[in-house]
Amino acid sequence: MKLSGYATKINTLRTTAIVGIKDESPTVKTYTLQDDLCSKAKPGQFLMLWIPGIDEIPLSILNGGNGQVQFSVKAVGDATRHLHDMQIGDLLGVRGPFGNSFTETRGRVLLVGGGTGTAPLLFLAKRLAAKIDRLSFVVGAKTRKELVFLEELDAMCTDESAIATTEDGSYGLHCLATEPLESLLDKQKFNMIYACGPERMVRKIFDIAEKRKLPMEASLERLMRCGIGLCGSCMIGKYRVCKDGPVFKMAQLSEIKNELGISKLGFDGSRIDI
């Protein structure tokens, strides 16, 4: 038996019925599936979700435990809209969990999430909560309707509540999620910044962290087909986001500076702007 049993097992497609659906916002829903392997995922890992007859897409894991796994999905196109139309009891296929995870740190941590990119950070925050001194959250979205997990985020934060920003000012600060950062970092010392969200947001945070010489970890998204480091669809620089990532550390982010927030591979392998 050449392929290690475990690798084969996590990559084997399991079909399982939806056991829970929760509306997080008009465009985002959280799904719960029964799946042993993914229920043991660590924050930052993702799964490949098969929507039978439609598509198979990568999704970050929002939570796992007791044989169940959750993920939140924003309806943006064909696959995600089909998913939003599905009901409890409908069958989905799942393989994974794939990829690496955030490293757990101590001390003071700052989490910056954009849109559904907040999901893996919320997962991380839950694991960190008991172990760290201070946890601050900044979350951004285009508009109030897309700001998700707000209550849960508030509950995670140490002192004041999570800082929310919207691009249209419909809730919280009227700006991008990156804007409150500089003043936050001026006021307080943080041992680690964790980021996940639109890549241009991640890039801005990276630039700030680099300037201030702060450690940072970011979870990235790329087009994914195989999810197991084989097909090359998800390359960023010399890294495969599905296997070497999706979480990258400061030094790695530096190495991929000329792509981060700038360009990615399209479905046909050509380079397209972000």
């Binding site: 038996m1 050449k2 392929l3 290690s4 690798a7 084969t8 990559n11 084997t12 497609l13 079909t15 490949m48 098969w50 039978p52 007859g53 439609i54 598509d55 198979e56 897409i57 069958l91 296929g93 393989r95 087909r225 195989c226 999810g227 197991i228 480091g229 084989l230 097909c231 090359g232 669809s233 390359m235 620089g237 010399k238 495969r240 296997k243 591979l265 399209g266 479905f267 046909d268 392998g269 050509s270």
Partner: protein, 306 residues
């Protein structure tokens, strides 16, 4: 690892190690090719490229089987005109020969893409006439000696670099195709591409791959690939890249003994990581030393001796 032990010359190309990257594994970007070369590959084959851009098939495109993978990625590629830039960059980065995998719908397309690839710096082209899941290219050509002859002749006329033909196992008699390629002037063969396969999910009662039919790769097909190499070695004089299910040094040595001058590794890059080439090379080298051979060339085809 002694260099001379593992050095091979195949179709005029010098490879520092006899383990090359198979087409379609990583291989879109120059940097992914460099990654693999740094992982020990003696040569790299790019993702197959054609005349026009293709987005490939929708997901699922890769599905796990019992001891391998079934894929129907559908030849996604940006088209040769866009790709020349990446190739030029790749050529500048790579310390090992750059082999460009080419597909087309006509002999003329194969020739055109091959020409542009060589102009962009390709050290050789590999003709993918064996993709089991895209209509009118791939297998249709690789299963038909006449079409294959035409394709190889036209490509040979268009380029001065070695032309490698990648054969399909999905044929009644692979040696017939190997001979056609040899007679048409091919410089080497890659044996084999994936085996046509289907994956079905019982709960949804559907074929899993969006394209339904795909190609089986990985350990499951190794005995089939070894048989193809064994048969082709007896039928033609061309050097052979053995390919199919190679995961460790032992697999590689099996292919050398069956008649491969070098090997290509695909699926194991995912299951083992790009450093799999180094691991295989190290194992092959210590096997050669233990058996007191001076070069990997000495064991090529050895199991045909009696």
């Amino acid at each position: 690892m002694s260099n001379s032990l593992l050095t091979v010359n195949i179709a005029g190309m010098n490879l520092g190690s006899p383990t090359a990257l198979a087409s379609g594994i990583l291989g879109y970007t120059a940097e992914s090719l460099r990654l693999v070369a740094e992982g020990g590959a003696g040569a790299v084959v790019t993702k197959s490229v054609g005349v026009a851009p293709r987005p490939g098939y929708p997901n699922p495109t890769v599905v796990q089987a019992d001891s391998g993978l079934i894929n129907a990625v559908g030849l996604p590629n940006p088209g040769i005109d866009f790709y020349v830039e990446e190739l030029t960059y790749a050529k500048s980065l790579l310390p090992v020969p750059l082999i460009v995998s080419v597909f087309g719908y006509t002999a003329e397309e194969y020739a055109l893409v091959s020409k542009k690839a060589v102009e962009a710096g390709a050290d050789a082209v590999e003709l993918n006439v064996s993709c089991p899941h895209v209509k009118y290219t791939g297998s249709e050509i690789g299963q038909n000696p006449k079409l294959l002859t035409d394709v190889v002749c036209k490509v040979k006329a268009a380029v001065q670099k070695p032309v490698i033909v990648k054969l399909s196992p999905n044929v009644t008699d692979i040696t017939e195709l190997a001979k056609a390629a040899e007679n048409a002037g091919a410089d080497a063969l890659t044996v084999i591409n994936t085996v046509r396969a289907v994956a079905i999910n019982v709960e949804t009662q559907r074929a899993v791959l969006s394209n339904i039919r795909g190609g089986l790769s990985g350990p499951a097909i190794k005995p089939i690939a070894l048989r193809c190499v064994y048969d082709v070695f007896e039928a033609v004089k061309l050097p052979i890249f053995g390919c199919g299910g190679i995961t460790d040094w032992r697999d590689a040595v099996e292919f050398f003994l069956a008649g491969a001058s070098a090997v290509q590794v695909g699926t194991a890059v995912g299951s083992e990581d790009p450093t799999v080439f180094q691991a295989i090379n190290r194992g092959v080298a210590s096997y050669l030393k233990r058996k007191a051979y001076g070069s990997v060339n000495e064991i090529v085809g050895l199991c045909h001796q009696d």
